[in-house]
């Protein structure tokens, strides 16, 4: 299910005095089963990009191809798009509305026009996948804790069995344990079900640890695109975009500046431990 964007451009408030180019001529290819990290400063156009590739807003110019088909074409069935591309927005728990957790998770698949049995099966599977207790299934979603609500919201998208899953800062506002859980879950999904994941995050540590490819957006354009090591190698450029390096990479660069001969292409804590023990031996 590769996604190809072709010269995507989107402008907000075109005829007013508040005109902003949110996305400017973005062409990119996202392959099956990739785990992609999307990073960029606030207002760089990340969310716009996500909404475009999930077909929620229409571009001014350019288009998006899903499996070679133009998703903005008049004849394209949006139901197919919804069943293939799932998006989890920031603070997804704010979209919960049903009386029970289970019913809420059923909302997505039942909109796909599936049979009741299939819908319930999928909802059950999805709730199991996100690791929610059985006795929480028939509670009101509003009675759950913040982390649980978020898992329910993610299950609501998972139950639609998307091939591509887009997550906009899924760990915002969660405690460290909650962050780890959510990211672990996402990583598991990508490995076990071969789902393509596009993850927006402001935490460079998370990005460095989990993703295999990083796309950096700056001022509506793709500024950098490559493996985490490649991207974090451009430390000066990242700083000029208002982004930071993972803390360990930053520490390594400082050590090197102090005259200690360490390699600076270290991006995770494990790598840092290895590198330091090599140097200190």
């Amino acid at each position: 299910m590769p996604i190809v964007t072709d010269h995507l451009t989107l402008v907000y408030g075109e005829k007013t005095n508040l005109k902003t180019i949110a996305l400017n001529d973005v062409s990119v290819k996202i392959d099956d089963g990739q785990f992609i990290g999307l990073i960029g400063h606030t207002g760089s156009g990340k969310t716009t990009f996500l909404q475009l590739i999930s077909g929620l807003i229409k571009p001014k110019e350019g288009t998006v191809y899903l499996d070679g088909e133009d998703i903005f074409d008049r004849n394209f069935d949006t139901r197919v798009l919804r069943s293939k591309v799932g998006i989890v927005f920031q603070y997804p728990e704010h979209q919960l509305f049903e009386e029970t957790v289970f019913k809420d998770v059923c909302f997505g698949p039942s909109n796909l026009g599936l049979e009741k049995k299939e819908v319930e099966l999928r909802a059950y599977e999805a709730l199991k996948m996100v690791g929610l207790d059985d006795n929480a299934f028939y509670q009101s979603p509003f009675d759950l804790s913040g982390g649980q609500k978020r898992r329910v919201a993610i299950a609501g998208v998972l139950a639609m069995k998307p091939k591509v899953m887009i997550l906009d800062e899924p760990t915002a506002g969660l405690d460290p344990a909650g962050r780890k859980e959510i990211l672990g879950l996402i990583s598991k999904l990508q490995k076990e079900q071969n789902i393509t994941i596009i993850l927006v995050s402001h935490s460079m540590e998370d990005v460095a640890e989990y993703v295999e490819r990083i796309i950096v957006i700056n001022k509506g354009k793709i500024a950098l695109d490559g493996t985490p090591k490649e991207v974090f190698g451009h430390s000066e450029e990242l700083k000029s975009f208002g982004l930071a390096l993972p803390q360990v990479t930053d520490a390594m660069i400082r050590l090197k500046n102090q005259g200690i001969n360490v390699s600076t292409d270290v991006i995770t804590i494990n790598e840092a431990v290895q590198e330091l023990s090599r140097v200190l031996r």
Partner: protein
């Protein structure tokens, strides 16, 4: 979906009208509205239209932008105009079923259309050039004398400013929730009215939940900053009349005087 509604929105700018004291604009809008309803006479309307046009030019806001505000009330306008056309008593010139078109009807429909257009444009000039905060500040100061009769002026102004402040937030929230539910396969384009109402539930429930959450957060934040109502509260930027505001008052009442004179002359049949 709310992009096109310009009625009640602020348009960033730095014109003479933008800088004017909000009280002047409030009183001015009321005076202007009164002037529209004093007389039904084309000379008066022409003068009012010219006056409004001058003000629009002074605001430096594109006229198109202002006329877009009319779109929001188009239905109301068409409805009242049609009602006036067919239900005004008088000599019928055209009859169909219970509907009859009269000369008087046409006359009053035209009057009404002119009045409504000028009314709405003038009201949108005020909101386009005044931030909600300035507006409530102005209202609070204008109605201060009513505190003597135990009217909670400050509290009303505070409620207004909070309500106004929350409109864009809730709109944004609605947009976000709609997108989230669309991504989960909800369809809002159904023609069936029952399906349409059912579609509102996944939007309205989260919207209400978030409105209550925001309200309680705000109440808490206000209490944490020792807010306890209007008594003894001072302003960071107190409203003060400048020379241009006094000049504006003079022009405004001069305009009202001319309208009254023009109308009375007509009533007494001088021209």
């Amino acid at each position: 979906m709310f992009k096109d509604v310009t009625l009640g929105q602020y348009y960033q700018g730095d014109s003479l009208i933008h800088r004017m004291d909000p009280r002047v604009k409030l009183v001015g809008t009321v005076v202007y509205m009164v002037s529209l309803f004093l007389f039904s006479n084309y000379y008066c309307y022409a003068l009012s239209a010219i006056f409004l046009l001058v003000v629009i030019i002074l605001t430096k806001i594109p006229i198109i932008y202002m006329l877009r505000g009319l779109k929001a009330v188009l239905f109301l306008m068409v409805f009242t105009v049609v009602c006036n056309l067919f239900f005004t008593p008088g000599e019928p010139i055209f009859k169909f079923w219970i509907l009859k078109l009269t000369m008087e009807g046409i006359q009053s429909a035209i009057y009404l259309m002119i009045r409504l257009t000028l009314l709405i444009v003038s009201a949108s000039i005020m909101t386009l050039t005044t931030t909600p905060n300035q507006l409530t500040d102005g209202i609070e100061k204008l109605f201060k004398p009513l505190a003597i009769i135990k009217l909670p002026v400050h509290e009303i102004a505070m409620m207004m400013s909070i309500a106004l402040r929350f409109i864009p937030i809730l709109m944004e929230e609605t947009d976000k929730i709609m997108k989230a539910q669309t991504a989960r396969g909800a369809r809002f384009d159904s023609k069936n009215i029952i399906v349409k109402i059912k579609c509102m539930i996944p939007i309205l429930v989260p919207l209400f939940v978030s409105a209550f959450r925001r309200a309680s957060d705000l109440a808490l934040a206000m209490e944490a900053r020792c807010y306890h109502g209007g008594d003894g509260r001072t302003k960071m930027k107190p409203l003060k009349y400048a020379g241009r505001d006094i000049a504006a008052y003079i022009i405004m009442f001069g305009y009202l005087g001319i309208i009254i004179a023009l109308g009375l002359l007509r009533v007494f049949g001088i021209y």
